[in-house]
Amino acid sequence: MAMKQCPNGHFYDDEVNAACPYCGKEQSIINFGGATQAPPGWGGGGGYGSQTQAPRGWPRPDGGATQAPNGQDGTRGGTGGTGGMGGYGGKTQPPSGWGTNQTGGTGSYGGRTQPPSDWKPEKNTDEGKTMPIMHKDVQDPDVGWLVCIGGPDKGRTYPLKAKGNTIGRAGSGHKFDISLDKDMNISRDAAVASIGYDAKRNSFVFICGESSILYLNGEVAGSRSPLAPFDVIEIGNSETVLLFVPLCGSRFDWINGLKGGAVR
């Protein structure tokens, strides 16, 4: 009988489970950084004398082999489809395909791990899932635009919505709100930056990704910078130059309309 702590900070009974039942393969092994390394075995808790016992109802491996915990292992099927998600707060509308990516059904278990026999996943439902506030019934109007004024995509205009608008180059499995398809100097792997619209303060914020150095009006941009009308964004070593043209601001926003004049 020994309680064991795995490197990810989970406790388990190593006589019941050969490996931590809470660590799936998708979980990264996290380096404790030396200072907070957990010692092997249980017992550091001070003067607590009681015997630690294996909890009842714990998943027991059949035949002694290490069993993957209930469906924690590699069940990452069926996530394709809705690339355009990104909405939270504000007036954002979920994409039309919202919720349909849960149709993987039993196929998405990949034949390796199974859910508990007494439970069947509900298909095609977000019922009870943790979700942020989203407003479905409103249109999703533009709150501003990015205009490409230099580089291979020169002349294109990209709408900004009331959410985090990601900037990147679309690749397999990745889709960005603002996709600079022709600029080969931009990584396909991750968004280079994002422009967020803050509906509460009716302002824009420019957030750098981790893949490239970005310039705002010729200066290296900080991780978060407020955006002013006609700010110029340049991306790393690429030729692309983007001009920020807001619609919402001190004169207009979609909630209060035009300042100093009624909108019909």
């Binding site: 309680m3 702590q5 900070g9 406790f11 009974d13 809470y22 799936g24 998708e26 979980q27 996290i30 404790f32 200072a35 907070t36 957990a38 010692p39 550091g44 808790g45 001070g46 607590y48 009842r56 109802g57 714990w58 915990p69 209930n70 469906g71 924690q72 069940t75 990452r76 996530t79 998600m85 990104g86 909405g87 939270y88 849960q102 993987g104 859910p115 007494d118 439970w119 069947k120 996943p121 439902t125 977000d126 009870g128 899932k129 943790t130 979700m131 942020p132 506030i133 985090g164 990601t166 994002s194 967020g196 803050d198 509460k200 957030i207 750098c208 990704g209 981790e210 991780s223 978060r224």
Partner: protein
């Protein structure tokens, strides 16, 4: 004349006894994450404190598991860098905000998670919570919830109170009442439920951190009844048993962490 100075007896410090439990319920993925840091090392607890973390990745958004795991990782790094002689409450809140911004930079708002972070240091508890996960304190037989949820329902009820309407039922009955108004990964957390001053812990106190898969299913009385057994791992097993007994078809992922304080 040789007098023997009385040797001060080293004061006993509260020690912590922990347990955890996690199950997938009826969901396709496990998106809850949790961890304890320093839970078994008395010296580390004395010098750096014990950290318990729970994150419930949002199943309705992309890749909830990756976000909840990343949140824990960021919080662990923040915890390692804290100045133990400074204001830990402010540092914990800062850590949560920085973690939120890092999550936003990494996931660009496409995924999110809740977070309950409990820092035990010098027989005191600091906590910071974002979203709808639960933090309970059991003291002298009573189980009290320490945190409030940041969701649509609370937002609307707060607005109703401001208008002078004290009836909570319209807010409770509204559609999407459970949708979160604040979550980790939004890059812009407004409201957070956190301690500015620590809670002094006593012998016999027990804390339960749990995701809404536990907190929304079991009422506080039932959770409190689970604390009848001493071993936190057994407490967790009892919680698990009670949830399994419900056999809800759409049972959410459920995770519980239990920390008992004693000598």
């Amino acid at each position: 004349m040789n007098s023997i100075a009385p040797v001060p007896r080293p004061r006993r410090l509260l020690s912590y006894w922990v347990g955890n439990m996690q199950q997938q319920g009826g969901r396709e993925y496990q998106e809850d994450s949790f961890c304890f840091i320093n839970a078994t090392d008395v010296t580390e607890i004395r010098q750096n404190g014990l950290l318990a973390l729970l994150a419930d990745g949002m199943g309705g958004m992309e890749d909830g598991k990756a976000v909840s795991e990343a949140a824990l990782q960021c919080m662990r790094e923040e915890f390692a860098a804290m100045d133990r002689s400074g204001d830990l409450g402010a540092q914990l809140m800062q850590a949560v905000r920085r973690t939120d911004e890092r999550l936003f930079a990494r996931f660009m708002g496409r995924g999110g998670t809740t977070l309950v972070a409990c820092l035990f240091f010098g027989e005191k508890l600091w906590f910071a919570c974002v979203g709808d996960s639960f933090l309970y304190l059991s003291r002298e037989g009573a189980l009290v919830r320490l945190n409030a949820e940041q969701n649509q329902q609370h937002l609307r009820y707060a607005e109703a109170i401001a208008r002078g309407e004290l009836d909570p039922s319209p807010a409770n009955e509204m559609e999407d009442a459970a949708r979160l108004s604040e979550f980790m990964g939004s890059g812009n957390i407004g409201e957070m439920d956190a301690t500015r001053r620590p809670l002094a812990l006593q012998e016999g106190d027990a804390l339960i951190l749990c995701s809404d898969g536990v907190g929304d299913v079991l009422p506080a009385e039932e959770l409190g009844a689970c604390l009848a057994v001493p071993d936190p791992m057994q407490v967790c097993a009892q919680i698990d048993t009670r949830i399994r007994a419900r056999a809800l078809p759409a049972q959410d992922n459920y995770t519980a962490l239990v920390i008992r304080c004693g000598y």
